[in-house]
């Protein structure tokens, strides 16, 4: 009965019938209380967004998998200390982190959000070491500004590791009947020799899990076999947006999960040994021959579909894995694997039996299904997404099994290559070396480039280069390609804000709200809409809503800060900027915001300090340089100010502001001729800017060239500046008529 119940629960989970799963699982736990069943129940709760339930049932559990799930629940409930304690118990300093890469990743996130950057970096690096395909860990490293070049992580050594993992995975597959978890040593403990299929839970649970926030590629989910068949595929097919700038949105977990699965144990042989050792109680060692045959299959398996493979369906698995980033994955590689598999199945009976048995052992729930459904499974799995793989795979039917290994290798290589490019692009983008990032992204294949995530990143890079038109173009493309993507749309709304495109901005905001009313990006866009119309109070309300929806979304805090400053509430503005920096220390907009506040409050040293910090993070922004210069000028460090202005001018020829500021500084230094020269230049590129003429008028007045002064003041007034300027200019003009009587104070 227990087996039956477990099976039903797992299949309910697979098919997203969460309530059914929860109910049945609760009955299961009542009838057969055991920690494994508890884990399954916790998984059901987590899937159903009820982290608090999972938290309560797993409190105090010691098994690694339980600890992992418990930590996950704590994380979702924002109980970071408990989460950390669960993953790294204080009294067992050398305990291995449950679930290897996924555990390290979660730990890294915890450290990041509790402000311990070095530890976070350390764990992310470890996670990548265990599973080189764990993109999310690399992404976090980039956000923390601590990522090495992508080629350091996604390189041949990594390829070797992945391959080893695939192989060891296959061997472990063979070895145990019950085990199935290719999970990590921690999960081993769970296995406890129980041969029931539910042990398979381990592995594939991943996919679904993370509905809520964190992108962990964790796989070894709590005892649910989640995957198998159709559900897997659909899980794979989650939206491509992986990289969350805020680090929060749920990336397609499944992908990582699978990869992780393959990555079983960690580094190459040692891990497989470990695995073997740990799983020893249940293992029987399979002979080399079988191992090899199985390895190919297992690899493609990266996930769910053994059944599909068996049935001859294109295992979208690898495709889906690859599709992680773009949805168009490396179909080829997967196909290759598949080909190998099938050929093996067709080539010999023993092979097929091995396949079957392997499948069974793999344990995941689908194992059972495989037998039952066998061919039907293939049809059921919605491989719709991956037709390519299918065709290719069928083509390769005839290849030999040994071809697998080479395909395996080349597939891994290709995948790593893709990750390398994307990783490098993302890293450069986070370092604000936007030009270089753009070049890297252009190296991607057409189908990878034309995906929501990449296009958004390209848009963001243009935004950082202050090239709002191009940014607009790319974001627009991104929206066309994947209209449901929310990531990066907050930046898009800012682009439209800068371009003063009120129609487009309000349209964007409406659309985003209709896609997901609970996303911070949608409310940021709304806020930007109101901010653009100078309705700062409403804008502030919207930004605060975004903050409530996701306190880990740094940009929402920054935007709140901007609105407070616009309302001249500097105290709250500072608070908001500081919250933003707490979430993401490298959010240079918040440093900039603080600088502006201090500039307004005339605390010039603070202003300079903050602008400098912002400049440090993004040394290519001419706007930042300009403001730094302005702060220096206010501190009367005019030489330094001029130097910075020169840098700003050369950094971006299209930016007129540093030129203007330079002229301003020069005129305050009484170097009028030079100032006028600069302003003459500006006249050419911005002929309708009244402030240029006004400043020229002012300078001519200082030089006592009254006619010229009048002329330029007149020009300035003609351009209809705001009333404040009109008053200043008219006042200056008046005084021109009375040079002898009044001191020229202007």
């Amino acid at each position: 009965m227990e087996t039956l119940m477990v099976d039903r629960v797992q299949s309910s989970l697979r098919l997203f019938m969460n309530r059914n799963a929860i109910f049945l699982c609760e009955r299961l736990c009542a009838e057969f209380p055991s920690e494994l069943n508890l884990q399954l129940l916790a998984t059901c709760y987590l899937r159903n967004n009820q982290a608090y339930c999972a938290y309560h049932i797993l409190k105090g559990s010691k098994m690694p998998q339980s600890r992992y799930l418990f930590a996950m629940s704590c994380f979702q409930m924002n109980l970071l200390r408990e989460a950390e304690a669960a993953l790294c118990p204080a009294n067992e300093p050398n305990a291995e982190v449950p679930n290897g890469a996924a555990g390290h990743y979660l730990l890294g996130l915890i450290y990041r959000y509790t402000g311990r950057r070095t530890c976070a970096v350390d764990h992310f690096v470890q996670a990548l070491g265990i599973d080189p395909l764990l993109w999310a860990a690399y992404e976090e490293l980039c956000i923390l500004g601590a990522a090495e070049e992508a080629s350091e992580y996604f390189n041949d050594a990594a390829a070797f590791r992945v391959q080893q993992q695939q192989l060891s995975e296959s061997s472990s597959q063979n070895l145990t009947i019950g085990t199935e978890y290719q999970s990590l040593p921690s999960s081993m403990a769970l296995g406890s020799g129980d041969t029931s299929p539910r042990h398979s839970k381990q592995l594939h649970a991943n996919n679904t899990r993370e509905t809520l926030s964190h992108p962990h590629g964790t796989v070894m989910a709590a005892g649910h076999p989640t995957i198998s068949g159709p559900s897997n595929i659909s899980q794979y097919y989650t939206p491509p947006a992986v990289a969350q700038l805020s680090g929060v949105a749920p990336p397609p977990l499944c992908r990582n999960a699978h990869l992780y699965l393959n990555a079983i144990g960690g580094d190459g042989s040692t891990k497989s040994n470990v695995n073997a050792a740990i799983q020893a109680p249940r293992r029987k060692f399979v002979d080399e021959g079988k191992l090899r045959k199985v390895s190919g299959r297992l690899f493609s398996d990266s996930g769910p579909r053994r059944s599909t493979r068996l049935s001859g369906e294109a295992a979208a698995n690898t495709n889906s894995n690859a599709s992680q980033l773009g949805g168009n994955g490396t179909n080829h590689s997967s196909a290759k694997y598949l080909g190998g598999l099938y050929s093996s199945s067709s080539s010999s009976k023993t092979n097929s039996t091995v396949l079957r048995s392997v499948t069974l052992r793999r344990g995941q729930p689908w194992a059972n299904e495989n037998f039952d459904e066998d061919n039907t499974v293939t049809t059921s799995s919605s491989m719709s997404a991956l037709p390519d793989g299918k065709c290719l795979e069928q083509d390769k039917m005839g290849c030999g099994i040994l071809a697998h290994d080479s395909r395996l290798t080349s597939g891994i290589r290709e995948f790593l290559g893709l990750l390398r490019t994307l990783g490098e692009g993302y890293r450069l983008s986070c370092l604000y070396r936007s030009q270089e990032a753009l070049e890297v992204y252009l190296r991607l294949s057409q189908h990878q480039f034309n995906t929501g995530w990449v296009l958004s990143q390209v848009g963001k890079a243009h935004f950082e280069l202050v090239d709002y038109f191009e940014a607009d173009r790319f974001f627009d493309l991104a929206r066309r390609v994947s209209p449901y993507t929310l990531e990066g749309m907050d930046i898009y709304s800012t682009v439209l804000y800068h371009l003063k495109e009120e129609m487009k901005l309000s349209y964007l905001a409406q659309e985003l709200i209709s896609v997901d009313r609970l996303s911070p990006q949608a409310w940021c866009a709304m806020g930007n809409c109101y901010g653009r119309q100078n309705d700062h109070e409403t804008a502030l309300k919207n930004f605060q809503r975004a903050v409530h929806l996701d306190p880990r979304f740094a940009y929402a805090h920054t935007l709140c800060g901007h609105e407070y400053v616009a309302l001249e509430d500097f105290e709250n503005g500072i608070k908001c900027y500081q919250s933003s920096l707490q979430v993401d220390e490298r959010h240079y907009n918040a440093w900039y915001g603080l600088g502006i506040v201090y500039l307004r409050q005339e605390k010039f040293e603070f202003a300079e300090h903050h602008f400098r910090k912002a400049f440090h993070i993004n040394p290519r922004s001419s706007v930042l340089m300009c403001y730094l210069g302005m702060a220096l000028h206010s501190l009367k460090r005019d030489e330094d100010a001029l130097e910075v202005m020169e840098k700003a001018i050369s950094a971006d020829k299209k930016n007129p502001l540093p030129v203007y500021q330079k002229a301003n500084i020069l005129s305050s230094l009484e170097r009028f001729d030079e100032a006028l020269k600069e302003l003459e230049q500006l006249k050419e590129c911005a002929p309708r800017e009244s402030s240029v003429y006004a400043l020229m008028g002012k300078i001519y007045k200082r030089l006592n060239m009254h006619e010229k002064a009048m002329f330029y003041f007149g020009l300035a007034l003609d351009l209809k500046p705001p009333a404040a300027d009109v008053a200043t200019i008219k006042s200056a003009m008046e005084k021109l008529y009375l040079p002898d009587e009044l001191e020229d104070t202007l």
Binding site: V466, Y468, T494, Y497, H498, L499, K500, N528, N534, L559, H562, A566, E568, N589, Y592, I596, L599, R600, S621, S622, V623, L624, C626, M630, S634, K654, N655, P656, L657, Y660, N664, C685, A686, R688, E689, S690, S691, A694, L695, K698, A716, L719, K720, P721, P722, A723, A724, D725, V726, A727, T728, K730, S731, E734
Partner: protein, 192 residues
Amino acid sequence: MATESDGEEDTAGKLTGSRHLDVDDDLREMAKKAAWSVSSCKPGNGVLALRDDNLDTYWQSDGAQPHLVNIQFQKKVKLQLLVLYVDFNVDESYTPSKISIRAGDGFHNLKEIKTVELVKPVGWVHIPLSGTDPRETFIHTFMLQLAVLSNHLNGRDTHVRQIKIYGPRPNPVPHQPFHFISKEFITYSTLR
């Protein structure tokens, strides 16, 4: 500033105009954080009615003329426009007819800066605070006082339904002598 019948007389032509609150975009409401007080009021029709954005509620004075509305700011501000909503059709003898606007640092040194006469006003009455001198587009002050000197039909008490005060927006780029108006400049002038 001479006492004058200001352009806010509501002749048939002007009536429509003051139905709407017509304020330049480069002005913003300044008095949200100011301290508002009145010389006297009837219970239930106090000073809050002047700021509630509700044209149905009104402040009713309850004492001797002149009736005063005092607005004190936390720091010296530049003000350009004062707008009040009154309605002769509904309030008749409670409608103000002569209003004096004073400014200064506090109660001790208020000086009259403007006087206006209203003739059967219905709707928003816009009173620019500047003098004729272009240098004086704004008044720079800590405190503003609106004094209702007399009402229509010699009414004793007065009704005022809403008052708003406008001043210039600060330059989004701090410490600049002039505002930027061209697109090229504005695009690069701030980060968000």
